[in-house]
Symmetry: C2
Subunit: 139 residues, 2 copies
Amino acid sequence: MPFPTPQDAEDGFYDALESGDADAMARVWEASPDIACLLPMTPLIQGPAVLDLWRSMFSQGAAFDIQVRHLAWIESADMAVHLIEEQIGGHDVPADRPPPLVYGTNLFRRGPDGWRLVLHQNSPTPPLPGAMPPGPPPG
Amino acid sequence: MPFPTPQDAEDGFYDALESGDADAMARVWEASPDIACLLPMTPLIQGPAVLDLWRSMFSQGAAFDIQVRHLAWIESADMAVHLIEEQIGGHDVPADRPPPLVYGTNLFRRGPDGWRLVLHQNSPTPPLPGAMPPGPPPG
């Protein structure tokens, strides 16, 4: 069984991101048209296009050093959601000016051979106090 | 059984938003510390604070006219995720300048008396072409 727990599949996902390994990334995802990605600044991507996206990014040399902090687990017998906070690092990121934290949601589903990733979604964290101009909200 | 399907619970959620009904909203959510909300510009809110948030917003007269379009359903025997696109309207929203679409993720879990909402998460949709200043990304 490749990923006996949701956490094993999640570790596989971040390991694949860090190594830029498209084949390892493909093994993490469920082989189904249901899989979906909601990455920052990107439209919803579903099905085989999810693996195409990662393969394209990795083929351009992309690799991501992401520090993960777990905020919550919501689980059932055959699905699991992990809410996390991602801190993106790496050699392109200035140590004194790290990018803002990003919320991440990973949804896993149990199949006949273990757990696989079916949805990865990012959301922005709220702006820090003072980071937004004062005034009424738009609209 | 109050919500025999995930879709019934989702309809209950948007109906409660539209009517600004805190009691109806409370019935939609699972009675557990696991529940969580990731709303735009807001930190992660978990457990009883989720219902406190809605009660507080509704007590200030907030109500939301949200048009929903389903993008995907990812389901299992006892959990279900609906990926949707939300268009927020209402009397405060100028018809000629609607706010951008927002992605929404609703996670439902089946309990002894039916399906309840356990997670509501929003993500921004990507900016429209031409909406961002040209130039390299920050960092």
